[in-house]
Symmetry: C2
Subunit: 224 residues, 2 copies
């Protein structure tokens, strides 16, 4: 596999994370770079979804990927095979990324000339949701085997996300997962949440999700 | 469903968590109470596994359950239906429990006369592993849909656990999950880790896991 650059990021020094995040979005707008923050639980298919997304968009946009992980680089090595600029961020045990940490990553990645950067956050439904990373939009993946009750149990992440991707719909027949209920619970947390049921494995539903991301990226970069 | 008591636990005041945890174990030993700390990612089937475990052991032991969650009580309400003493711990947004927080829970639950208490930790593979709760043994659940690479990506939790339960083996045919690889990776982190493949849904493999827990509980309480 490709050799991936690994960045050890330090805990942020910025007391006011929200101000830092807002400032980063201003700069991303000026640089015409859209940043997506992708969150999920471990094992929800985040990396597979990301790779399938990159494959569908890499000819339309100049893309970059930042893979955040506690301390491995297995995901980054896989993503790098798509050919897009990929770096691995190590959080040194920390379970989230804040705006300052994300900025360190963006500086190492080099956003100049990139239209779309995806940050794959640490696999966790709790901590990452507590920090604005400075991303333009937040998306989360919930996979069918995790169950439809998750918006009841992890409210914050559903509240802060713009998009809920429901992955692994190819295994719906084997699980007691109620799509109506998850929609109801998720919209209870966040009525504006867009929901895309997909199977990153079979490709089902990927077009609608990718179209949304494409539209948002174009809109952000053209309004710059 | 039964009305479950909800405890809002406060961040621990103890600087030295390890010392606090060791002290708690001493007291649990004196009280002849075995405490199991059960950890996993969200959606791995922690509550279902716990309920099936309780059903198989509640006639052998006087049991108690502490359900930790960010702020819901759906799990505790389900567990309470088994008839065992159950309380809900709210962590107020925190993604873990330390020894002091666990002690608050034990005091509210009341361990006098209980042989076996299970703490269902917050659904998260990162933060809970960083804090010794004072439990006698630590177990984690990894479910088949999460993938066999998790010991590579979340090393610490595999290192601190005594037991790895691999749940949802009934869906093995529908996922690319390699039991040999997960065993190899998990033992790389922790050669002593005991591994129990189960399906909490069908009951397959539950006996071996429950026998282990029964043996450990008896041993702890008899040596008291």
């Amino acid at each position: 596999m490709d050799k991936v650059r690994i960045i050890e990021i330090k805990e942020s020094i910025f007391a006011d994370n929200d101000a830092k995040a807002a400032q980063m979005r201003e700069r991303l707008k000026a640089e015409k770079t859209f940043l997506l923050n992708l969150m999920s639980s471990p094992g929800s298919g985040k990396t597979t979804t990301l790779i399938q997304t990159v494959e569908r968009l890499k000819n339309d946009f100049r893309m970059g990927v930042m893979e955040a992980d506690i301390d491995s680089d297995v995901d980054a090595a896989k993503v790098a095979l798509t050919g897009v600029k990929t770096i691995q961020l190590h959080t040194g045990g920390m379970c989230h990324l804040d705006a300052g940490m994300t900025e360190q990553g963006l500086m190492e990645l080099g956003t100049a000339g990139l239209d779309l950067v995806v940050l794959e956050n640490v696999g966790n439904l709790v901590c990452p949701a507590e920090f604005d990373t400075g991303a333009v939009k937040n998306a989360m993946i919930l996979s069918v085997p995790e169950g439809h009750d998750k918006p009841l149990k992890y409210p914050l992440i559903f509240t802060v996300c713009d998009v809920l991707i429901i992955n692994k719909i190819d295994v719906l027949p084997y699980f007691d997962f109620d799509m109506d209920k998850v929609t109801e619970y998720a919209h209870m947390r966040n009525p504006k949440l867009k929901i895309f049921p997909i199977s990153a494995k079979t490709g089902e539903g990927m077009d609608a999700w990718v179209d949304w991301l494409k539209g948002e990226t174009l809109r952000w970069n053209q309004n710059a």
